[in-house]
Structure formats: C-alpha cells, structure tokens
C-alpha cells in the first residue's frame, strides 16, 4: 500500500473525538493522558512541598525551645527570669506553625507518600513517558489506549484516596512513608492512651497504594508492549533515544516490583482489619494492655516485601531522569552521546542490580547479618553502572559546543546533583558505616538529593525542553534560568547541610529535640539554615508556575524543532496532531538518535527520519 493510500485510510479511521469529555477528560489519546499525569504530578508536587515547608517551620524553633527549656531548669520556678523564659517558650510554641508530635508525623508521612508515589513515579513515566514514548518510537498511540486511560484514572483515584486520609477521623497516617508495622498494623499503637491514628487514615493509605500498584502495572504493560511492538520502520532498538530506553527499563522495574508492594499492602490491610498476623508478633504490649488477637508474625517480613519494591522504586524515580539527561546533554552539546551502548547497558545494569540490593535499607533492622553482607556487596556493585553513567555524561559534553539554554541547565544540574547525591550512597551502602548513619539526617539528605531533587530536575528539564512541542510556545528563558539558579542553589544548601547534621548523628523523624546533642548551637544553626533555605527554595517554585502560565498565554511561538534536536517528536508539528504525525503517516527512521556534528554533513544535526543520504558516506560509522 502506498503511503498516500495509508494516509487516506488514516483520515477516515483515526479522528479525535469531538465531545470535549471524551477528548480532554476520558481521553484515550496518549498525549492528553500524558498531560493529565503531568498536571496531577504538578499539583501533588506543590502539596508535598507545602507540607515539607510546614513541618520545617515547625522544626525551625524546636532547637531554641529545647535550649530555653534547659535554661528553665536552672531557674527557680516562679521567679521573674523563669516567667520571662517561660513566656518566650510559649510564644515560640504557640506560633501558627506549631504542630503536635502526631500531627508532625502525619504530615511527614503524607509528604513522603505524595512525593514518592504521586510525583516521582507519576511525572517521569506517566507524564513525559506517555506523551513522548509513542512519538519518539514513531507510533500513533500507546499499544492499549483504553488501558492507558484506565491507568491514569486509577492513579487519580489513588491520589484522591490518599488525600482523603487527611480528612478522616483520626487524621492522616503517621507511620512514615515506609509504613512499618506493628505501628501501621495495630490500631491504637501510637502510644499510651493516645487515640487517633488507629483510624481510617492508615487504611486509606494502604488502599491508595494498592490502587496505585494496579495503575502502575497497567501502565508498565502498556509501555513495554509499545516500546517493543509499535516502533516505526527503521527504529531498531539501538536507534531508540536513551529516553525510550529509560522508560522501557523503568516499565520493567514497575512491572516486577509493584506486584510485591501490592502483597505487602494487602497483608497489611488484612492484619489491620481482618485479624491476620503476618506482621504482628504475639505478646505485644500496647496502650497498656497485652494484645491478644495476634500471634506469630514478623515485622521484618513487611520490611522485606516493602523494600523489594522500595529499592527498584528509587530507580523508577531516577532512571527516566538519567535517560533525559543523556538526551539533553547530547542535544545541547551538539555531540553524540558518549558510549551509547554503554549507556544502554548501564541502564539495564542499574535495573537488574536494583533488585538485588533492597536489604541495604535493613542493615540495622535485625535481619540476618550474613544476608546483610551480601546485600552490602551488591549495593556497592550497583554503584558501578551509576558511575559509568556519570563518566559518560561528562564524556558527552567533552569536546562539545554547549548551548546554555534552560533545558541544558537543568540537565547539567541533574548531573551535578546526581554526583552529590550518589556519593552519600557509598557511605550508606557499606553495612559497617551504615551503623553510624542509619536513620540519621544523612540518609534524609542522601535520598532527597538523588531520588528527590535530581529526579525533579529531570522533570524540570523535560518540562522546559518539551513545552514548545506540547503547547507550540516557548517557555520564557530568563524566568526559567532564574528558577534554575534559585532551585539549584537552594537544594544544594538544604541537603548538604542535612548530610552534616547526619554526621553529627541527628535522628530522622523527630518532631522536637528533647536531647542535649540536638539542642547544641551547631544543630540549631543547621536547622535554621535548612528551614530558611527551604522557604526560599519553595518560594522560588512560584517562578516556575508564573513561567508556565505566562508562557502558555504569551510565550514566543515555537517552531517544529526549536532546539534543533534529532528525535522523532521534532519531526512533527508543535503541538503534534491527533495522529502524532502529519496525516497519521509514520516517519521512517534511517539514523541513530544522536547524530550531531557529523563530519561533512550539511547541517550540524541529522534528524532520525532524514533520508539516508543526509549522512555523508565519509563520516565515521555510527556507534
């Protein structure tokens, strides 16, 4: 069949629905679903960030309160000095940002859950992946468009369920985002006589995660099948952009790991509500009475099942960012990716090894110490592909001709943050050193740096890079740059300072500082720096919002290929038509994804769908 005939066929069969509900809300179009995912992640990101600023504000003065309380103990009760200091403490404690310990833990838990699931898992895969995977491999849509829609709406349902946990009796769950039992499994286990979190909050939390597991499973199947089956002619696996490789590997990770989280959640739900005892050992003494309706389980079982998912999850969050960083570094340095094949193998290596290391979250948990040794060695091995990626990123810009447009800034920021964050892992992956650092702010700083902020820089990069493709308008460059500098500086200060606090032994998840070493001047100073920088950094995100709204309304018009990139999404119009490519005719691929600065070529880049002649015969063979 000739391509004209195919085009004619396409026009008849494949048309956008006219009803706005089917077109924009319950759409099966991967582009609409991608945007829906992205908006969901954006809203969640702001909710999650808001929560973190809120509890940082609470922590801001806890050090001072502890110091004043110390002073108070030196004074005679009722004396003038005593009353003055007491008044000072009260003033600090009754300020609008003060929160009860359980409220603090609730907000902490929700912060972690929202960001890990609704932002870090959702945006890079569901958002960017949905929109650009089919276009980059040259397909009309995902393999299963209706399942794709189902996947988004399940994610949305999961989000709503999680948000509902704020408003039910008993308030939000407060066993941390890891939800370790028995705290999460036994209602009324929050402390003597303390009523509350035994309520529905924890149930809704588990339910929300279970729904999320289904959504991720469906999404993962869709991504894998799309990548393998729907590639256009000429798009061999080794011609796929590294973003596609990253989404592909991420989908495999999600396929295999969420299945186990589902079980972890299911058993927790059963323990909570139906009297089973998978995670609850017998003879627990909680709330001043012996718990008689459970017997024989083990809290460690949950930790195993949870981290079996939890560690691959870290890579689910960061791998798409790695793919995008590689893509952007190459595109903006006008150079092929250094060691394309090594990059592909490294992504796979990270994915595979990521399943072998979950126990490094449990070194001090009472797990078998022999197993800990094995996990520790494997953890250090997984550092190798990460190091390969870093070296190859540096190799990619080496000898390049770097254009400092905002997507490139975010990508370079990603590399820098990835290095800084990754280095903490070399400490924490060693079981001996982890004895000191386990559950301290060092861990908090480390994982925020790498799976939090680095992944989010990947999202910023993606947003700025693809905004012209999605909307047809450029984002405002000065605003993007200002946002980049503020955020980059801010997050570095916040999380490096947290590493230092961890070095001093500061425990995680403390809502107050009843310890002497926590109310030392050093710690108080550090907490002050962190909170102030957090407020500054969070405020800087408003720049990003302004930029989005402003650019959408009044952005410069973008051409089809404003960045002069090579992958297929730049072969179509901005924004792409409903069928992704003009008249639904799929482009034919003749070149690798990173053909920049090919010697003797007419332009400094060869797009993937350019005719074979675009690449001069004199140029060295592609990888």
């Amino acid at each position: 069949m000739s391509s004209e005939a195919a085009a004619e066929h396409a026009v008849h069969v494949h048309q956008a629905p006219t009803n706005p509900i089917w077109r924009y809300v319950f759409s099966t179009d991967h582009k609409v679903i991608g945007i829906q995912y992205w908006i969901l992640a954006l809203v969640s990101a702001f909710v999650g960030m808001g929560l973190s600023v809120w509890f940082r504000l609470h922590l801001l003065n806890q050090g001072h309160v502890a110091q004043l309380t110390d002073q108070l103990s030196l004074l005679v009760e009722g004396s003038a000095d005593y009353n003055a200091i007491k008044a000072k403490i009260d003033a600090l404690q009754t300020a609008w940002y003060h929160m009860e310990p359980s409220q603090y833990l609730g907000i902490l838990t929700m912060h972690g859950t929202i960001l890990v699931f609704m932002v870090l898992t959702t945006a890079p895969m569901g958002g960017f992946g949905n929109y650009f995977l089919p276009i980059q491999v040259g397909a009309l849509d995902m393999a299963f468009p209706r399942l794709n829609m189902l996947s988004f709406w399940l994610t949305f349902l999961s989000f709503v369920t999680l948000m509902a946990a704020f408003f039910v009796p008993g308030g939000s769950p407060n066993a941390g985002w890891t939800g370790y039992p028995p705290l999460s499994a036994v209602p009324d286990s929050q402390g003597n006589g303390y009523q509350g979190p035994g309520g529905w909050g924890q149930d809704l939390w588990v339910l929300s995660i279970a729904i999320f597991c289904f959504a991720s499973l469906v999404g993962a199947i869709n991504f894998i099948v799309t990548t393998l089956d729907l590639r256009t002619k000429g798009m061999t696996l080794m011609r796929m952009p590294l973003t596609c490789w990253a989404w592909f590997v991420t989908a495999i990770l999600a396929l295999l790991s969420f299945a186990v989280l589902l079980v972890a959640g299911l058993l927790l739900l059963l323990d909570r509500n139906l009297g089973t005892s998978f995670y609850v050992p017998g003879d627990l003494f909680v709330s001043n009475k012996l718990l008689v309706d459970h017997k024989g389980g083990s809290p460690l079982l949950f930790q195993h099942l949870f981290w079996f998912f939890g560690h691959p999850e870290v890579y689910i969050a960061i791998v798409p960012g790695m793919g995008l960083a590689s893509h952007l570094l190459s595109s903006f340095a006008r150079k092929p990716v250094f060691g394309y094949r090594a990059m592909v193998y490294a992504i796979f290596g990270i994915g595979v090894l990521g399943f072998f290391v979950w126990g490094h979250h449990m070194f001090q948990s009472g797990m078998s110490p022999y197993v800990a040794v094995a996990f520790s060695v494997m953890t250090m091995v997984v550092g190798v592909p990460s190091a390969i990626k870093t070296f190859n990123w540096l190799g990619t810009i080496w000898g390049g001709n770097i254009r400092f447009q905002s997507p490139m800034l975010y990508a370079l920021g990603f590399v820098s943050l990835f290095v800084t964050g990754g280095i903490g892992g070399i400490f924490l992956g060693q079981n001996a050193v982890d004895i000191y650092f386990h559950d301290t702010y060092f861990v908090v700083g480390h994982f925020h740096m790498i799976m939090g902020v680095a992944a989010i820089f990947g999202m910023f990069a993606g947003t700025v890079y693809w905004f012209p493709k999605v909307t047809g308008k450029m984002m405002n460059e000065p605003l993007s740059q200002a946002h980049f500098w503020c955020t980059f500086l801010g997050v570095n200060v916040i999380f490096i300072v947290m590493h230092l606090m961890g070095l001093e032994g500061h425990p995680r998840r403390y809502s107050g500082f009843a310890f002497e070493f926590l109310s030392s001047d050093y710690m108080v100073r550090m907490h002050t720096i962190v909170t102030h920088t957090a407020i500054f950094t969070a405020s800087a995100q408003v720049l990003f919002l302004i930029n989005l709204v402003y650019s959408l309304a009044a952005g410069k018009k973008a051409g089809d290929n404003p960045w002069e990139s090579t992958s297929l999404e730049w072969a179509t119009t901005s924004p792409p038509p409903f069928e992704n490519f003009k008249d639904g005719v799929l482009p034919e691929v003749h070149h690798g994804p990173y053909e920049y600065s090919v010697p003797d070529a007419a332009k400094d880049y060869i797009m993937q769908h350019d005719p074979p002649e675009a690449r001069p015969a004199t140029a060295p063979a592609p990888h």
């Binding site: 370790y180 705290l183 929050q190 909680v286 390969i388 254009r403 301290t440 980059f488 998840r509």
Partner: protein
C-alpha cells in the same frame, strides 16, 4: 555569561561542601568503644575517597562547561565514545567500591557474626513506648527468665520477668544504662510493642529493637569519660573532703550544669579522681573530676541514648542515657542495686 555563573556556582558548591566537612570540629562525636574506632576509620577513609570523587567530578563538570561553552565558529567533535576508557573506569570503580566495602566487613563480623565474648556483662534492653528499660543480672550474672504473660504494669514489670525463676531474684531494672569500661558487654535488645532503634552516637552502635525478636550485640567501652573543660588550680584537698570548689561551681553554672548542693561527690582514687553526680533529679548525670598534671579536668561520663526507629508520637522524646563506670564502680553499682 551563563557558563561563568555555572562554574562559579559549582566552585562555591565544592568549596562550601568541603569546608562544611573539613571545618566541622569535631568531625564526629566522641568515640568510646573499641569497634567504633574501626567504624570511624572506615567512615573517614570513605569520606576522603568520596570527597576526592566529589571534587574531581564537580570540578571536571565545571571545567568542561567552561571549556566547551558555545562559541561561534566552533564545531563539536563527533566523538561517540571510547571502549578502552569505558572499560577502564568500569573496572576501576568496581574494584574501588567493592574493595572499600570488603574493608568494612571485619567490624561487621565482630559485631554480628563472631562468637560472643566469653563471660561478658549481660544487660537486657527493653524498648517500649517511650522509654528504655535496662535489666541487669545482679550478682549471679544470670538474668531471670521472661515471658509476656508476666507483664504487670502495676508492679512496673514491663519486661515480663518470671517471679518464680531463682535466677531473676537478684535482677534489677533501671531507666538508664550503666556499663563498665574495659570489660566486654553484651546487650540483648528487644521491644515489647512496636519497632524502636537502640542508638548511642558515641558508641557507634545502632540496632533496631524488633518485637518478637531479640538481638545480641557485643561491645567494649574503652574510655571512662571525655573531656568537658579544664580548671586551673589544685582543689584536691577540698574535693577529698567532699566540698565542691567555687571555681568548679562557677564553671558548671556557666555550662548550664545544675549544681543544687544535692549532688554527691565521692573520691574514686583519693587525691586524683572523683565522681561528681550532677542533677540527681534527672536520670543520672555523672561526671569525672580528674587531677592531671596539677590541673583539674572535668570529664563527662554519660552519653545520650536515642530511639532511631519511628515508634509513635513520642519518638522524639524516647531518651535515656548510658553511664560509663570503672569496673570497680560497676561492681559497686551492681552491689548497691541488687535487691
């Protein structure tokens, strides 16, 4: 302009971070255990190695950003990779990372895998919301049996001590931990409600307390105190008489330590070392006063014990303390407390 800013920011990041770690004094809290020294060595070695990797990688990034910034008329090289280089750094990082890891396995084995030391001081640590209960075996050196059915809050029997077990007759329990230095100690860490984490910074010791499981960790404290502050002048005669010199009182007050004339002061080695117990209202805060080279030095001999695993709303206040005693003092301590 942008590449220059970028380079400056990365320089600032590297200098700031390295300074943050280098200028932090002391780098780590005091160290009082034997195994802790190996952990510290490993930690500091890792810090040096990673510090170098960090600085080289970030500065390399900055250098490349500046060197290869866009300039008109310059064309990027068509460099697709270098197999040799890639093999080199893959093997190098593998050897470095795994080697570093294996170096730390000795101390892990010492704490978790090796035979427990013969005839140690046994202490049972029971975690509960939100306090720590320490049970000592008394003079016979054997802890009595325990079972959940014997838990009786009215009698303060949270650990579930079996009243019929003769081994337990001279057991005693306290809310703070006292350990002798120079003698191996094995703590038996357990929990009766939710997960808790036993952690003493200065001991380089951390272990979750898991309900339904008890974990034994051996350690040896090798120090009887860490220097708090020195005093000039020789007040040995006063101290031997049980009087606190004014200069010491002044110094204590200046350091927010409570001296309410209720504290006990006793000579451990008359004329040389005294034990000063401050603030008896709180759990127990013993200090050592030592005469060294004609100078009076005050040593802290207690350390804070924190809970490191989220255990409910009172997690942040689950505090206890570890007092370090001399072997002789420890024997007296057991003697005094055994019923």
């Amino acid at each position: 302009m942008t590449p220059v800013i970028f380079v400056l920011v990365i320089l600032g990041l590297v200098v700031g971070t390295v300074a943050g770690f280098a200028l932090k004094a002391p780098l780590l809290p005091d160290l009082i255990t034997e195994h802790g020294r190996i952990i510290d060595q490993q930690l500091v070695l890792t810090l040096y190695i990673t510090g170098a990797i960090f600085a080289i990688a970030q500065l390399g990034l900055a250098y490349l950003i500046y060197k290869h910034r866009h300039r008109d008329g310059v064309k990027a090289s068509y460099l697709q990779g270098s197999t040799k280089l890639e093999y080199t750094w893959t093997v190098a990082t593998l050897v470095l990372f795994v080697g570093l890891n294996l170096m730390g396995q000795g101390v892990w084995a010492q704490m978790h895998l090796n035979e427990k030391p013969a005839r140690p001081v046994n202490i049972e640590v029971t975690a509960m919301q939100f306090k720590w209960i320490f049970r000592y075996p008394g003079k016979d050196g054997n802890l009595g049996a325990r079972a959940a059915e014997y838990i009786n809050p009215a009698e303060g029997n949270y650990v579930g001590k079996d009243p019929d077990d003769a081994n337990g007759d001279d057991d005693f329990q306290l809310l703070s931990m006292s350990v002798p230095y120079g003698i191996p100690v094995v703590v038996d860490i357990r929990s009766i409600d939710v997960l808790h984490g036993f952690a003493v910074r200065e001991m380089r010791l951390k272990q979750d307390a898991v309900p339904g499981l008890s974990v034994n960790i051996p350690f040896t404290v090798e120090k009887d105190g860490t220097l708090e502050f020195p005093l000039s002048g020789n007040y040995a005669a006063d101290l031997d008489k049980g009087e606190l010199p004014d200069a010491l009182k002044h110094e204590l007050n200046a350091n927010k330590l409570v001296w309410k004339d209720k504290a006990s002061l006793r000579a451990l080695e008359p004329g040389r070392v005294w034990r000063l117990t401050l603030d008896p209202d709180s759990i127990n805060r013993p200090y050592l006063v030592k005469l060294e080279n004609g100078r009076l030095n005050l040593y802290r001999s207690w350390y804070e014990l924190a809970c490191m695993e989220l255990c409910g709303y009172g997690h942040y206040q689950m505090r206890s303390q570890v007092n370090v005693l001399s072997p002789v003092e420890y024997a007296e301590f057991v003697e005094k407390n055994s019923p």
